[in-house]
């Protein structure tokens, strides 16, 4: 076959364009931004916020209405896929930031946020009342937004004698009764794995899983799928939030579903918000952070997010009161997690295989 000049030309052109776009995409070096102190004085008319896809519409509306009412500011709240995708987006845009603020990352992202320098610190004025353990970053790169505990949920109709302790979970009577969420693809799954490491230590957690694997029916990729299987009755236990049963109590009037807390301790997940480094609408971003920690906003958290509000002044709905008591929050140091998680995950996969 004869190769024409046109063919050669297009091939060369394509190659050059591809190379050029690759260079463009990467960006070179690290951008220097105008000092936040200067930007904060500037009054602007918009605010761009990133969050994850499942942020409730009511919370979005609340933010949009608040800014429109109070400051006449247009808020664009973009709900990107999953939490990891939100982070990736911020990371890829770090030299030319689009967003001013982000809502919905959790404490496990802190080490990366620091290393990649994606956020600017800001300390809102009204955090005095917040429980200290929720203030996960003392430099205030992030502030808490809501929180919850990762626990085992069970279906009271399918399981009459629920397990009472971690050891009890290993009982053969629970064979194929547990739906795990994949720690590699799901945040609650990841935190549940961390909870077992916190409970049994780095030396002991694999032994737990080795024994527990027979009781695991399957490992779902996301919370939606796993929780779907659970409510479809495929297995009576699932990894979820300690607050999940509150949904069924509130909206379906059933107390069929419950959360399990062993020894009054549960793994804490704090969702956070922060201001993007180099934010053009820094002043509005600060207002957003202030609004998020305010009582007015926090009042809406329980029944929209089905999570706990960080503001102690909020009265919890009845559905939330019925859950088990938690005296002690468990967490692993985020830096330690960051350093070891890949190894832990690989070891866990080897055991579960």
């Amino acid at each position: 076959m004869r190769v024409s000049k046109v063919g050669v030309f297009t091939a060369v052109a394509a190659f050059m364009l591809v190379t050029a776009s690759a260079l463009f995409a990467g960006g070179v070096g690290e951008a220097e931004f105008v000092d936040p102190e200067e930007r904060r004085l500037e009054e602007t008319e918009e605010l761009i916020v990133y969050s994850y896809g499942s942020l409730p519409g009511s919370l979005r509306d609340s933010i949009v209405e608040y800014f429109d009412r109070e400051y006449g500011v247009d808020v664009e709240l973009e709900r990107i896929g999953e939490t990891g995708a939100v982070y990736t987006q911020l990371y890829l845009e770090r030299n030319e930031p689009v967003a001013d603020a982000v809502i919905g990352l959790d404490q496990s992202y802190l080490p990366r946020l620091r290393e990649d320098r994606l956020l600017e610190p800001y300390e809102p004025s009204s955090l005095e009342l917040v429980r200290p353990e929720l203030l996960v970053d003392d430099e205030f790169l992030v502030v808490p937004f809501d929180y919850g505990y990762i626990t085992v949920n069970y279906d009271g109709h399918a399981l009459e004698d629920a397990p009472g302790s971690w050891d009890d979970l290993l009982d053969p009577r629970f064979r194929d009764s547990f739906i795990m969420l994949h720690p590699g693809t799901s945040s609650p799954g990841r935190n549940f794995l961390l909870a077992t490491i916190a409970e049994f230590g780095e030396d002991g957690y694999l032994d737990f899983w080795r024994e527990f694997r027979d009781n695991v029916l399957t490992v779902s990729g996301s919370w939606s799928e796993g929780y779907g299987l659970y409510t479809e009755g495929e297995a009576p236990m699932v990894v979820s939030y300690e607050t999940s049963p509150a949904y069924h109590r509130e909206f379906e009037n059933t107390d069929r579903y419950n959360a399990l807390v062993f020894d009054g301790a549960a793994y804490l997940q704090v969702e956070v918000a922060g201001i993007v480094r180099g934010a053009r609408n820094r002043r509005n971003a600060e207002r957003l952070v202030e609004y998020i920690v305010s009582q007015e906003f926090q009042e809406q958290i329980p029944l929209s997010q089905i999570m706990y509000p960080i503001h102690p002044g909020v009265t919890l709905p009845d559905a939330f009161q019925a859950g088990p008591d938690i005296d002690r929050s468990v967490t692993l140091d985020p830096d330690r997690v960051e350093e070891n998680f890949e190894t832990w995950l690989e070891q866990w996969e080897d055991v579960m295989r």
């Binding site: 024409s4 046109v6 063919g7 030309f9 364009l17 591809v18 590699g184 029916l217 009755g233």
Partner: protein, 547 residues
């Protein structure tokens, strides 16, 4: 050499260039960031580390095995169906053709839930048998789901090719006294091999990059490469590792596609010269064939639709009791005291129009692009281009959509970007369908029209479109289906501002309103089924004109 010849010989390069420009920059934006950030040597170091992990190769092996088995099974099950569809004019033929596409348009989450509600431990089947088999949570479950998803590809692609086998070849074989079965095995299968390999390649790729299905049914035991890419990218936030794994995935898929091409290229394309194939109908069909034919469709129908039916029934349950509460909720627009609009951010009418408009446009654009591309390389063997155009199937949709958004947002409006993203994802299938069909039409038709003075546009309008009408609609239907079922591109690019059916369903499920999500799913199925029947009716209306 004339100008036209130069254009013609340049066409594959031009198509490749456009294609590469559309796909590579977005992917590089995301995956190449790792390399540019940390420098090439650090990237290579990371790539070496990832490729040295036994888990990586375990995933490759498992991905290949399950994809091969899924493709082989889909085709084996679809073959008799493709025979009946192409050879026998039985009652309900249209219906079968329209409806077999349905599993394909459902968001994978719905299909997964459907399979579980039927085959699951507490599913309908186990309840009927009074057992609690957990067979779906195994490689078996993965393959079951994949076959369910992909059987319609095999049915459509193979039956379309089978209709083009020269009637005279059949007659020769009949005159040689070959029995039906032997004729199928010795004459038809070899002739159909390119079409079969074509379908197998597409199914292989869909299964190879499968994500949700594999995680739910396979758990950790059976993780595909795609799962590891996702993990590296969104959980470990390691773009270098994700890039290396994505390259590995692309390489494995490339090898598979190229091998299939080589295998198919050794065979002649389906012989289409000669007399038009006449489908048997009425008295020409023996009673035994009729019985086998209908039994087959009933069995396939049970296989494909009982899970969907069982999940539809599930929409009529609330708290373990029969109830139309979910549908009432949808109509009333609230669940308990929660406004459904707050959850899905769109009313029903908006949902239908947005979904159909995006899917309709996307399918139209993709079909047109596929038609132009297939036409430009018509009558030529360009295996490298055929391989290249399959690449989107081996690229993760999230990565691609994210890159597209990063590169073009603000320059190109969101809905257009969504259509581009979905279009690129649907292109491989659409292009293959059109290319195969176009190669089946003798060039002499075009030449005759040329000698009668017909210019390009006139030929396309009066000759090529009418003659290829069935395949064009086929391609359109797949483009439409893929766009409708898409969740990733709409979410990643639309960022919640654009709501289609799958997004609405995921949102409802995210708020634990399963029954309402499924009730919406039932409406969705009704809307989609109506759209497909409309598409296929158009095809049959044209067919009556003598095609």
């Amino acid at each position: 050499m004339g100008r036209r010849d130069a254009l013609r010989s340049g066409a594959p390069y031009l198509i490749a260039a456009v294609f590469v420009l559309l796909t590579v920059p977005p992917v590089l934006t995301v995956l190449g960031a790792g390399a540019l950030e940390r420098g090439a040597s650090a990237w290579l170091e990371e790539a070496r580390r990832v490729l040295a992990q036994t888990g990586t190769w375990r995933s490759v092996r498992f991905s290949v095995i399950q994809a091969v088995v899924s493709a082989a099974l889909s085709i084996a099950i679809a073959l008799p169906g493709a025979y009946f569809l192409s050879h026998i004019r039985f009652a309900g033929r249209r219906l079968v053709q329209s409806v077999s596409l349905l599993p394909f348009v459902l968001p994978s989450l719905i299909v997964i839930l459907a399979i579980i509600s039927f085959y699951g431990r507490s599913g309908v089947l186990n309840q009927l048998l009074g057992t609690r088999f957990a067979f779906v949570y195994s490689a078996g479950g993965i393959i079951l789901a994949h076959v369910l998803f992909n059987i319609s590809i095999a049915l459509r692609m193979i039956s379309a090719a089978w209709m083009q086998v020269d009637q005279r070849l059949r007659e020769v074989s009949l005159s040689l006294g070959e029995g039906n079965l032997r004729r199928v095995l010795r004459l038809h299968l070899p002739l159909l091999l390119p079409a079969i390999l074509n379908a197998a390649t597409v199914i292989f790729l869909y299964c190879f990059v499968s994500f949700g299905v594999v995680l739910v049914f396979g758990g950790v035991r059976f993780a595909t490469l795609e799962v590891r890419i996702y993990q590296a990218m969104f959980m470990n936030l390691n773009l270098s590792a994700a890039g290396a794994l994505a390259l590995l995935q692309l390489a494995v898929c490339g090898v598979a596609v190229f091998a299939a091409h080589r295998l198919a290229a050794r065979r002649l394309a389906v012989a289409t010269r000669g007399r038009r194939f006449v489908m048997r109908s009425g008295r020409e069909i023996s009673w035994i064939t009729t019985v086998i034919c209908y039994s087959y469709w009933v069995a396939l129908g049970v296989f494909l639709f009982t899970p969907l039916a069982s999940i539809a029934l599930r929409a009529f349950h609330r708290n373990g009791r029969w109830s139309t509460a979910a549908f009432r909720s949808l109509i009333a627009g609230s669940i308990g005291d929660r406004d459904i609009h707050q959850i899905i951010r769109a009313d029903f009418f908006e949902l239908v129009t947005t979904s159909l408009a995006i899917a309709g446009l996307c399918a139209a654009v993709t079909t047109a692009a596929g038609f132009i591309a297939a036409r430009a390389v018509r009558g030529r063997k360009v295996p490298w281009l055929d391989t290249l155009t399959m690449a989107p199937l081996a690229i993760s949709g999230v990565t691609f959509s994210l890159g597209l958004r990063l590169l073009w947002f603000g320059i190109i409006p969101g809905p257009v970007l969504i259509i581009v993203a979905q279009g690129v994802m649907a292109f491989p299938l659409v292009f293959r369908i059109l290319r195969t069909a176009m190669e089946g039409v003798p060039l002499r038709y075009t030449e005759t029209a040329k000698s009668l003075g017909a210019g390009t546009l006139f030929r396309v309008r009066t000759l090529e479109i009418p003659v290829l009408w069935r395949s064009i609609l086929n391609a359109y239907a797949f483009g439409f289906a893929l766009s409708l079922a898409d969740f990733t591109a709409v979410l990643t690019i639309g960022r919640g501002a654009i709501v289609t059916f799958p997004i609405a369903m995921y949102r409802l499920i995210g708020f634990q309103s399963f029954d309402v999500a499924l009730a919406l799913g039932v409406w969705y199925i009704i809307v989609v089924a109506a759209a497909f029947v409309a598409i296929d009716l158009t095809s049959h209306a044209r067919e009556k004109e003598g095609l």
